[in-house]
């Protein structure tokens, strides 16, 4: 057990995996992730893939909202831009999934930068409303630009493939999801300890002081929007390639709220908080569904009461977490780690 682990310089302090103890558990976790598909059924693998897409999207949003302090209500729109870009490139222009994925991210990033321009003038709730416009503009485009998006009918997408091997099942696609989650989380974690990451935090904490210090607000705010939207675009492209269909109904306004809830419950300004939030918001409703099914099977007449009650339970869990730990699940995790840093000699 790690005990009394003190850092003597800033470089050591910024280390992502500060000790062998942490590296050991991380390796174990990676082994679990690699062996998971061989133990799980299609349903569990579906949930795992959905968690993966949510993690990528939530990390992106946290970079913007948590680290840079720019609240965005347009995240679902950027996910949709990435999704449709990938679908159109693959089905209409015959471009391979592997090339369409980064292109989807880039197109979303571009869209994000355009929508992020008001951030140079407005802040807080006003920026919220400005980004909300993105949701409605892109939502309208997805429905009405029928020559490209096929409107409400949607686009059916073939599964990605390498040679003759198709990633058409939950198990096969899991490897793609895992790869991009590792890449996405790894990049984000490194970004936040780089110069750009520190600039984001400075803008969040006091943008006027940051500007006086020489941080170019225009450049870094737009960069935050671009990177966040890139993540959203990649998440969207992966999601619809997994589902093999994209329709405008995939990107309602509620999806923005869901992602915001992930980063808030998980912890604003924390990459691991995004992961916790994504896991929580994806897994808890599913667990509640399974539990309500079990209760229903033992007591069929109670179905009408028990099933709607799970919405109450879910809402209460979110409110409860925020009351007892407003800084999110990441803060709970941080306190647990701090406790064990000096354990058993905490006194």
């Amino acid at each position: 057990m790690r005990c009394g682990d003190f850092k003597e310089n800033y470089i050591d302090d910024e280390e992502i995996f500060p000790s062998r103890f942490v590296k050991f558990w991380l390796v174990l976790f990676l082994i679990f992730l690699i062996t998971f598909p061989f133990m799980a059924n299609a349903h569990l693998l579906y949930i795992a893939n959905m968690i993966g897409f949510a993690v990528i999207g939530a990390v992106g949003l946290n970079l913007l909202a948590g680290f840079t302090g720019q609240i965005s209500l347009g995240h679902a729109a950027f996910i949709g831009v990435g999704a449709y870009t990938s679908a159109i490139l693959v089905t209409r222009y015959g471009i391979s999934f592997w090339l369409s994925l980064p292109l989807s991210g880039l197109v979303s990033a571009l869209a994000g930068m355009v929508i992020g321009i008001p951030s140079l003038r407005v802040k807080g709730l006003y920026l919220c409303i400005a980004t909300l416009a993105a949701q409605f503009i892109f939502g309208f485009t997805f429905v009405h630009w029928e020559s490209m998006t096929k409107g409400i009918t949607g686009i059916h997408i073939p599964p990605p493939a390498i040679g003759g091997f198709q990633f058409d099942t939950e198990k096969n696609f899991y490897w793609i999801t895992l790869l991009f989650v590792i890449l996405g989380v790894g990049y984000a974690r490194n970004l936040v300890r780089s110069k750009m990451g520190r600039a984001f935090v400075a803008i969040r904490d006091r943008d006027l002081a940051a500007e006086i210090m020489g941080i170019n607000l225009f450049r870094y705010k737009l960069s935050a929007f671009a990177i966040s939207s890139f993540y959203a675009g990649v998440a969207g492209a992966l999601w619809v390639s997994f589902l093999k269909v994209v329709t405008p109904e995939h990107f309602p306004f509620m999806l923005c709220i869901q992602y915001l809830a992930m980063v808030i419950v998980g912890g604003l300004g924390s990459v691991i908080g995004s992961i916790f939030g994504a896991v929580f918001m994806t897994l808890i409703p599913e667990i509640l569904n399974v539990l309500s099914d079990m209760v229903k099977s033992y007591s069929p007449g109670m179905g009408k009461l028990i099933i709607p009650f799970k919405q109450v339970v879910f809402g209460s869990l979110i409110v409860g977490f925020l009351i007892f730990e407003p800084r999110g699940l990441a803060e709970i995790w941080s306190r647990i780690k701090k406790f064990f840093t000096l354990w058993p000699f905490s006194y």
């Binding site: 059924n41 349903h43 579906y46 409400i152 009918t153 269909v245 329709t247 109904e249 309500s292 179905g303």
Partner: protein
């Protein structure tokens, strides 16, 4: 000696369980109902209907002596929750037949049902994509498609007033937009003029623009699509204020008691198409049966909606497919289930619908009803109209 006994015992157990595994999977239906969420009014009724048919069938001996197993889960009318529930139910119970909660879920799962799951599948949808046996033989709908329902209404209009001016008033989502392109073509073929297309959000309250637009274009008939009650009731009430003298019509999901209650004295202004008879049509044998069953099992329930009837009929077709497939070699295999289902012709459903004949994995039959303000019910004003 102990080792040999252990090996023999293991072998016996292995062969025994293998034998169990090889035995035919009992007839199993799994469903994802929108028990919560915006479509809960249909999900609660639908899940009850499916349970009732399963219980009635099991009480009468099941499928040639085999009891039907029925499991369901709540999909919350959300695609990702519904798909997860579908996969969980399939992984747990390996059903031969499944029922989904929405058009979106049907579209998302369609390719996988065809290539992987191969279960006979229907849903709370009447989208044309679910009635395309060439593309997906496993998907079907126990009703006419939305486009066919439009066809029933347009045929009725063409008969009543040839060359009439029509407006399509639809919701700004998939359910609302789906039959509009087909509706435009059918109207043109029948010599009707589509002079206006109005769009609104579900539950919209400020519809002045749309009403005045229809008035300016002298609309004779306005067909709603994609709404359940609001804003249909609002449009009908406000049209009186603005002097719009159009006749209002709608498709399956809006032809419900809920709308009549909201319209009140204006119930007679609404004409709708439905695929099924109504609960209060006592003269029909199936309605009598449903009423007796409901009175016996659920004495506090006074009415069963059209969503109930949709699920009731769909489950009857599932049961009939099971019965026919059970007589085929191999039993409840995917191909047998599809063949059994597609072989259904002139199947008597006790007046719930005319005798059912499956065509292109749908039942292209509907009837036009008018609301009655005095009885708060729908009265049939046409005979059953076939769209094939």
């Amino acid at each position: 000696m102990k080792k040999i006994s252990f090996c023999i015992l293991s072998l016996i157990l292995f062969l025994g369980t293998s034998g169990i595994a090889v035995a035919q999977q009992p007839p199993t239906i799994c469903a994802v109902h929108p028990f919560t969420g915006p479509f809960a009014f249909a999900g609660i009724e639908g899940s009850a209907a499916m349970q009732d048919v399963v219980d009635m069938t099991n009480e009468a001996g099941g499928i040639n002596g085999k009891k039907i197993l029925y499991y369901w889960s709540d999909g919350e009318y959300k695609n990702d929750v519904g798909i997860a529930a579908f996969k969980r139910l399939y992984a747990q119970y390996t059903p031969q037949v499944m029922f989904g909660q929405s058009t979106g879920m049907t579209k998302a799962l369609g390719p996988e049902i065809k290539s992987r799951y191969k279960v006979l599948y229907s849903a709370y949808t009447m989208t044309s994509e679910a009635a395309n046996p060439k593309e997906n033989p496993y998907l079907f709908i126990a009703a006419p498609t939305y486009a066919e329902q439009f066809g029933v209404l347009l045929k009725y209009i063409a008969k009543e007033k040839p060359g009439a001016n029509i407006a399509f008033f639809y919701a700004d989502h998939e359910f609302g937009r789906e039959p509009i392109p087909a509706g435009r073509e059918m109207a043109k073929k029948m010599g009707l003029n589509v002079v206006a297309e109005e769009v609104s959000q579900v539950g919209g309250v400020d519809l002045t623009t749309q009403i005045l637009d229809m008035k300016a274009k002298k609309v004779d008939y306005c067909i709603f699509q994609g709404f359940v009650s609001n804003p249909i009731a609002t449009v009908i009430k406000q049209s009186k204020d603005y002097g719009l003298n159009a006749k209002f019509m709608g498709t399956f999901w809006s032809t419900e008691k809920q709308l009549i209650k909201e319209l009140g004295p204006l119930a007679g202004e609404y004409v709708g198409v439905s695929a099924y008879s109504f609960f209060y049509q006592d003269d029909l044998p199936m309605m009598k049966k449903i009423k007796e069953w409901t009175k016996k099992k659920f004495p506090t329930i006074e009415y069963r909606s059209q969503a109930y009837m949709q699920n009731f009929l769909t489950t009857l077709l599932f049961v009939e497919s099971f019965k026919r497939a059970d007589k085929m070699k191999g039993g409840f295999t995917p191909d047998n289930m599809v063949q059994a289902f597609q072989s259904i012709k002139n199947y008597d459903v006790g007046g719930l619908m005319p005798p059912v004949t499956i065509k292109d994995n749908s039942i292209p039959v509907g009837r036009v009803y008018r609301g009655n303000a005095r009885t708060m019910q729908f009265d049939p004003i046409s005979d059953w109209i076939r769209m094939d």
